[in-house]
């Protein structure tokens, strides 16, 4: 093996594969290192794939990527203990090609994506953990691995090593993540015959449904839950901020069990076979928690750089896009005969700023703090909404006007008039730019 490469990419997840593929396509000499037995064997996602980001890297991905179902319907549920209020959006428009969103299974998808990088010419080393960055002063000159004689050199190292990002921490590029800046998600995959899924969710072959959930199921913690349909399986999971898990001393798998036992969810899983239980962190600290993402001979892409839009459940698309932009920065600079140092790599930040990645992260920069300071969004409101729906729907001889009055007073009682106004404003601000 050549001892020195143009670029070493650490990680074969969404960001790493996008970077390695883009670099190899442009003819650079790339080594990609992954600690898993195969790419994807360490990775966890919901998982929804947003076509746009991948299309910009591999335009014809639909020809052979392992896609489960394209999504035609989005359900949003606000749950109380025994009920939910919800909305559905389903459109035939989502059934017209090219489809926009798909469910995927990461262990399968990552292998496919990594093969694309290999086919393009990247050298991939699996079952190898990068243990440290090799530094010359402040400059990254390569990596140390847990293989014998495992020091390998490169002009630039792209850290696409995911949320825990140990390497940048060991090198002192950024501090440990704070519990308030990261969510812990637990999930399971349940298998059912394809026809059962299609009749249970009222969908045709290859069509899929997403259910996003919030409310009592997170036991007062800031978080959400999801249920997605795959071809022959259903994945469901729940995630909350780590600081809340710690404060409220909640056990994640008990939370998941309770969710599965909710009367609205239980029938969807009936008769299924659970085949895997997984846990993973999601870096949701947003704009204010983002670390420096480049320096002398190094760049950070994907979860390692906190590139996640928690509010919209977007992560994989930001990972792919940042991996691609990191690669393109290196390619451009090389073409122009410029060295890869902290000054020239600032172009990566400029590209990020110019893309939807930083535009969105900046737009939603207030959201994490607003939700953190207003836990009643996750407790009081779900209860009030469900009670309101119950009052309205139940036919019990009470006139409609009295019903409306009782709903209104329940809201005011729980939150006060001013509180309600303030909440509406805060909710609006969480979704707005400023």
């Amino acid at each position: 093996m050549a001892e020195k490469f143009d670029v070493i990419v650490v990680g074969a997840g969404m960001a790493g594969n996008a970077a390695a593929y883009t670099l190899a396509q442009a003819g650079l000499n790339v080594l990609q290192i992954e600690r898993g037995e195969t790419p994807g064997s360490k990775n966890v996602q919901g998982a929804i794939l947003y076509a746009d980001a991948l299309e910009k890297i591999i335009p014809d991905f639909r020809d052979d990527a392992p896609l489960e179902r394209h999504l035609i319907e989005q359900r949003v549920w606000i749950l109380d203990d025994e009920s939910y209020v919800g909305s559905n959006y389903r459109s035939e428009e989502f059934n017209r090609e090219p489809y926009n969103r798909y469910t995927i299974i990461r262990a399968h998808f990552d292998q496919w994506f990594n093969k694309k990088a290999r086919d393009a010419g990247a050298l991939v080393l699996c079952e190898t953990t990068v243990t440290n960055l090799l530094l010359d002063g402040k400059r990254v000159i390569g990596v140390a691995t847990d293989r014998k004689g495992g020091e390998i050199y490169a002009d630039c190292v792209i850290l696409a090593d995911g949320v825990n990002s140990l390497l940048a921490k060991k090198a002192g590029f950024h501090d440990e993540i704070k519990p308030r800046d990261v969510a812990l998600a637990v999930k399971e995959i349940h298998f059912l015959p394809q026809e059962t899924i299609e009749s249970r969710f009222n969908i045709g072959e290859e069509e899929g449904v997403v259910i996003e959930m919030a409310g009592k199921i997170t036991a007062g913690m800031m978080g959400t839950a999801f249920l997605y349909t795959n071809k022959e399986s259903i994945t469901l999971g729940i995630g909350c901020m780590l600081s809340d898990f710690k404060e409220q001393q909640v056990t994640p798998y008990q939370l998941l069990e309770k969710m599965k036992d909710h009367p609205a969810i239980r029938p969807l899983l009936a008769g299924s076979e659970m085949k895997e239980y997984a846990a993973h962190l999601i870096p949701e600290g947003g704009y204010h928690a983002m670390p420096q993402v480049y320096g002398d001979g190094w760049m950070i892409a994907g979860d390692a750089g906190m590139f996640v839009n928690g509010l919209h459940r977007e992560g994989s698309n930001l990972a792919m896009t940042t991996g691609k932009l990191a690669a393109e920065t290196l390619i451009e600079l090389k073409e122009q005969g410029k060295a890869w140092n902290a000054r020239s790599l600032a172009r990566y930040q400029a590209k990020l700023d110019d893309s939807f990645v930083m535009k969105d992260l900046r737009k939603y920069r207030q959201a994490p703090a607003i939700f953190e300071k207003n836990p009643h969004f996750f407790t009081t409101y779900p209860e009030l909404l469900n009670r309101a729906a119950h009052t309205l729907v139940k036919v019990d001889g009470v006139d409609k006007k009295s019903k409306e009055r009782s709903i209104k007073s329940a809201f005011v009682e729980a939150r006060s008039r001013l509180g309600l106004l303030g909440d509406a404003f805060k909710m609006w601000r969480a979704f707005q730019s400023r």
Partner: protein
């Protein structure tokens, strides 16, 4: 209450016998200096258990390598945490 072992039973692992990738730095600190012992509650694989005498025992075999225990022990920073050797640890079939 469901036992987490029943869930973990579905998972695939290649355990690196005798080389745990996570250890408690100072067990005495857990026993006497940490009231919350949040690791024993929040680890999604139940790898940390509190013994009768207040000691905390960590067994990494079912670990899903999420990072929770490292980040959540933020007052004491008492968890020595690294990745397993390449190829070892959790092997997600689906993820």
């Amino acid at each position: 209450m469901i036992k987490v072992e029943e869930k973990l039973f579905q998972n695939r692992y290649r355990v690196d016998a005798g080389r745990p990738h996570i250890t408690i730095k100072d067990p005495q600190l857990c026993a006497t200096g940490c009231d919350k012992k949040q690791c024993t509650v929040c680890c999604p694989a139940g790898c940390y258990t509190e013994e009768g005498n207040g000691r905390v025992v960590m067994i990494a075999d079912g670990c899903m390598e999420c990072g929770t225990c490292r980040i959540i022990c933020d007052e004491h920073r008492n968890v020595e945490w690294d990745w397993p050797r390449g190829g070892f640890g959790i092997l997600f079939k689906f993820g």
